[in-house]
Symmetry: C2
């Protein structure tokens, strides 16, 4: 058996290392291009995606047929599906990224300490970024173009379900780079669906990868965290909460909770748990619950919730810890702001949490005390999105604490270096 | 044997987990203190270190005696040694950190996208930071107070050689926190010299550690990179270069190279390799070499260097890859700026590299092309230091690419969150 499996494994290893070397070479070139060069490449990519629409849609139809045959869930099929309108949205997104201010070369700080040195902190690319994601083919484009905008080379590894769609999109992007005489290997897609390829990426490709961005479900992120030998900009789950405070405006509360849960239930910014203040639960919870159940949402509640709403499923500890990504909402009645903060300190995944209140002091206490990447006042948690933040696109929402938190756009894919200009200084 | 070793290991595990829990609790309190509270704590720590000087110096004398008995190298003994003057320097350093602007709560950016949300990016602490370091006892203070300035709880693990000195310093710091009614567990020192304690820290203490900062030699950093299950702000070696360009001012070249190599040979910012342009090597290299050998530096050269300097030790590939941390310098004659850039692309560790030239265009090309945390023009690489950068102190010089590069001071120990204020927005 060793004799049979060893050659393909060795070949895969060499293929992956070769991708790493090409990416490193492309990254050296990329960082030295002008912002105009990168913008030109992005505009060419948008045009190439439009021109490749028939190829992409044909490839997507094949992916969809295979996915249906495998019995993929409707929510997964919806993530995978492309049509002319969605593809035009992808191309328009690239143009948005092309129009973003270039994040490289920004002077982040500049000062002169007593030694007389002129010290400048300058934004530079991270280098080579490995992105490991799941079914959505549009991530292939979002990730590729955000890396290009920020001068990074990308090695993309999408899910097997979207393999053909992603290949068609990557081909279009690489063709655009080639025709513009920009480094083609700035965007590379791992062609094989062999899961060993992910293992090679997590090993760092002999130093070629500077950072890995996983975008996907818990099992992927856990594998990455356990195995990665390179830094990770992590995207864990979005166990988001909306807290309806005693001083909430009732209409805002109903509208925002309904939107936060039901606008799209499969996104990481959807609210999974509603916290409602005991002072208003009896009057407000029935209205909120009616809006949700009318929209098809299943409710699960703690004892006090069930005392108000009647016969709904009891919420257990497992519910407070579950990212449903579905039309299900757990509800807890809490004792004022301290009760809400205690629940969040225990259960929030640090992604996005919101308070609904007309009491500004309470809102500011909530904002100061909740240690999540995004803390909202009187707005839907579904605004946790790079596009809504004005980033043009996003690779995901980072839930780790280092380097970047919240939406990861082009600016978050940069680091910095110090340019220090002296006049002959030696250190005493 | 299992019966004998298992109880102490289990006890150590519980001790470490308890430190993690205490640190997490302290971190929650710390982030909500005012800047004035943190400043008050820092001033109290400076006073406490001065008051504890007799205890600290007695403990240090015991460490030194044990280290001499173990036959520690003179350079290591020098790093370990404290005297009244050095200790006063440590206390004064704490006062410098106390006088720094508080890095928390800074509004890093604020904007309103078309959805009307008021989005602010606000600096917040990283959380709980594990710092693993080696012999210098002053790191115990530098790391502890930089974490306090930035609202982070610190779990410090120093080297066994400095165990008693570090314990006396940590006691003084914790006493100051206690007397000021600030969270004492904001600064904790791992009391045991058992190396298993490091393993527990690398495992993350069941989620209590947010980030690990290793500060030490290659073997420590390699262990951390291989085993860490939490993000690492890495401090790899400083294989620093000084490049003397064809248009270098001869006096600046001699003065800067001598300082970059010989001011202190044991620091990570010391130059290990001199690159000199072939156009000026014949005239300038003998002057530079004389200054260095007069100061007691051993020279090793490539073929062209030896053709000029005569009978010095040949430099091999191993020399280009070696951080000597000693009075040894490898020298390569290079063909212009492209030759220097090629050498750096292959051998620089990405820490600090310098060019000496009066040609501003060449200097700017060097600054743009050299991908190191610190790139200097006409200054000594020994300026790679948080104090010289105006950071008051530093935990080390980061050589990784994510989160922070270069000197890591209080500002680099922060992250951010988004405070998003709405007026009832729901997402369409």
């Amino acid at each position: 058996m060793t004799v049979q499996t060893s050659p393909p494994s060795a070949a895969l290893a060499e293929t992956m290392l070769d991708m790493g070397r090409r990416a490193r070479a492309a990254s050296r070139e990329l960082g030295l291009l002008t912002a105009q060069d990168r913008t030109r490449g992005l505009k060419a990519i948008a045009a190439a995606i439009r021109a490749a629409a028939p190829d992409v849609l044909r490839a997507n139809a094949e992916d969809m047929a295979a996915a249906r045959a495998k019995g993929l869930a409707p929510a997964m099929l919806d993530r995978l599906a492309l049509d002319e309108k969605r593809l035009e949205g992808v191309a328009a997104g690239v143009e948005t990224v092309a129009a973003l201010p270039d994040p490289l070369g920004r002077e982040l700080a500049r000062w002169t300490p007593p030694n007389g040195l002129d010290i400048a902190r300058i934004a530079v690319p991270l280098g080579v970024i490995g992105i490991i994601y799941e079914s959505r083919p549009n991530v292939t484009v979002d990730a590729g173009v955000l890396c290009l905008r920020s001068g990074n080379a990308a090695i993309l590894r999408g899910g097997s379900e979207s393999a053909k769609s992603s290949a068609a999109l990557a081909n279009a992007m690489r063709g655009a780079l080639k025709s513009e005489e920009l480094p083609v290997d700035a965007i590379q897609l791992v062609a094989t669906t062999n899961r060993e390829a992910v293992g090679h990426m997590l090993g760092g490709l002999e130093g070629a990868l500077d950072v890995i961005v996983p975008r996907g479900g818990r099992s992927l992120v856990e594998r990455v965290q356990a195995e990665a030998r390179v830094p990770v900009i992590g995207h864990l789950e979005g166990l988001c909460h909306t807290y309806v405070h005693a001083a909430a405006d009732p209409k805002k509360a109903v509208d925002i909770v309904l939107n936060a849960k039901m606008r799209r239930t499969g996104v990481c910014g959807s609210t999974e748990t509603l916290l409602i203040d005991v002072a208003v639960a009896a009057t407000l919870l029935p209205q909120i619950a009616k809006a949700l159940t009318d929209a098809g949402c299943e409710l699960r509640g703690d004892g006090r919730t069930r005392a108000i709403l009647g016969d709904i499923t009891p919420a257990t500890e497992a519910d407070w810890a579950t990212e449903y990504l579905d039309a299900i909402l757990s509800i807890a009645v809490v004792d004022g702001l301290p009760g809400a903060l205690a629940h969040l300190a225990r259960w929030s995944s640090g992604h996005t949490d919101a308070i609904i209140t007309e009491d500004t002091a309470a809102a500011e206490t909530f904002i100061a005390n909740v240690d999540s990447a995004i803390v909202l006042h009187n707005a839907s948690t579904q605004f946790a999105d790079g596009g809504e933040f004005g980033f043009g696109a996003e690779i995901g929402i980072a839930t780790g604490r280092i380097h970047a938190r919240g939406p990861v756009g082009a600016e978050q894919l940069t680091t910095y270096k110090y340019a220090v200009r002296g006049t002959g200084q030696v250190r005493p």
